[in-house]
């Protein structure tokens, strides 16, 4: 039994709720120091200003921690799990610590849904991994509904230095309703087009709208490729026509594909496929190319909503 416990690793995933700088720095620096003293590799992905606070608190020990700016690494929350997976795999056989702050108050509603979904999928993606994950949430600035979802997506909470079980935790396959219920409807003036066999027209429409919206050539080509891959999945798997919708607002252009197919893998697009894998490259690429991807799938069908910012940072 002891052997299997070691092989399965000790996975931990705790939320930390903070209001002040001190609430933030003290427990996180403590969590990291505990790992460093045991010789454990540590990775911190938080917004850059927060990383500066942690570096200062850690002093010379900060040099033993890998830092990333979460506003870049996790701009699309679907990019985070592969990065953490790469860190875990790089230190295979060792217990690692990871601090990830993917939720902040200036995120859009769609980004917040996806960041929350990402937090839920951490439990599935790293089940059995030898990794301890701590996720800070700013209760002074975030909507209470977002904090309530953090209680659902984290098996544990870190309060006053103590780990306790989260009573609201939904389990490794549970998703808060905001990221599992149908997406808000497209605006009434969205363009809509039904395709059955020919994807050339789908690509031409996306290209035209992307250019009209002012995307650069490179980003327009990325969006065309992404939408074409999702639409090709319709023709491969769905046995139904697909519908392309396109709309935009001041900040972004959005392309949505809906069909009657079903995607059963909750981690689709968040695991780097092996080079010779039979499938999975398309959805992986779609998630890498777009600024944000929302995917909803059940027995009634699949909706994939791809967002591209008009003025990327």
């Amino acid at each position: 039994m002891a052997e299997s416990a070691v092989a399965q690793g000790t996975f931990g995933h705790a939320a930390l709720f903070y209001r002040t700088e001190d609430d933030y720095v003290t427990p996180i620096a403590g969590f990291l120091r505990e790992g460093l003293e045991a010789g454990e590799p540590a990775f911190v992905a938080v917004p850059a200003a927060k990383a500066a606070l942690l570096r200062e608190a850690l002093g010379p020990d900060a040099g033993r921690v890998r830092f990333a700016d979460m506003t870049a690494m996790g701009r699309n929350p679907a990019w985070i799990i592969p990065r953490v997976r790469a860190f875990v795999d790089e230190h295979s056989g060792r217990h690692v610590r990871y601090v990830g702050e993917p939720v902040w108050e200036t995120r859009t509603a769609a980004e917040l849904r996806e960041a929350t979904k990402h937090e839920a999928l951490i439990n599935l993606a790293f089940a059995g991994a030898d990794a301890d994950i701590l996720c800070p949430y700013d209760t002074a600035r975030l909507d209470p509904a977002v904090i309530a979802q953090a209680h659902q997506t984290h098996p544990e909470l870190l309060c006053d230095g103590l780990r306790e079980a989260s009573a609201a935790y939904s389990g490794p396959l549970g998703l808060p309703s905001s990221c599992s219920s149908p997406l808000p409807c497209p605006p009434h003036d969205a363009m809509s087009f039904t395709y059955t066999t020919d994807l050339s027209e789908v690509r031409a429409l996306v290209e035209k709208h992307a250019r009209d919206a002012g995307l650069t050539d490179a980003r327009a080509a990325d969006l065309v490729l992404a939408v074409s891959e999702v639409a090709a999945n319709t023709l491969r798997h769905a046995r139904s026509p697909g519908t392309l919708s396109i709309w935009r607002d001041d900040d972004e252009i959005v392309c949505e594909i809906h069909d009657e197919g079903t995607i059963t893998d909750p981690l689709a697009g968040r695991r780097r496929p092996a080079p010779d894998a039979a499938g999975g490259h398309g959805l992986w690429l779609v998630h890498q190319l777009c600024d944000l991807v929302e995917l909803r799938s059940d027995s009634n069908g699949t909706t994939v909503r791809m967002h591209m910012a008009l003025n990327p940072l």
Binding site: A221, V224, D276, H281, W284, L285, L289
Partner: protein
């Protein structure tokens, strides 16, 4: 279009080997052991089987040592078609190679995210 080695193509025999969906594949053989494939149009789902068949046919002929693929006439190439090229190149073995020219933006992005460390397929910027 293609440069240098292929500039005297008027001496070569060209075959339209596939015209499936919106993709045309023209094959030119130039001894010893060199083949040029010219892909024009859009390489997507409708041409997937045809492209795979052409590549598998060439890979199965050990006498063909150099496969040059000119993609400069492609408007689009999807992930499955890029995958076909990458995996076909990987089956060639020592002494044989596949070189791609004129890769569209879509293919360069696909390679970057899916097959960045996969060096069997040579992508020439020329």
């Amino acid at each position: 279009m293609v440069s240098d080695a292929w500039s005297e193509r008027q001496d070569m025999v060209s075959d339209l080997v596939s015209d499936e969906g919106t993709l045309r594949i023209i094959k030119q053989c130039r001894p010893p052991g060199q083949v040029l494939l010219e892909l024009t149009g859009e390489a997507d789902l409708r041409a997937e089987a045809a492209l795979c068949a052409v590549l598998a046919g060439l890979a199965a002929k050990p006498v063909v040592t150099d496969i040059h693929v000119d993609l400069s006439g492609l408007r689009f190439i999807d992930v499955a078609a890029t995958r076909s090229l990458v995996l076909a190149a990987a089956t060639l073995g020592p002494g044989r190679r596949m070189v791609v020219r004129g890769a569209p933006a879509a293919m360069r992005r696909t390679m970057e995210f899916c097959w960045a460390d996969y060096t069997a397929l040579e992508v020439s910027s020329g």
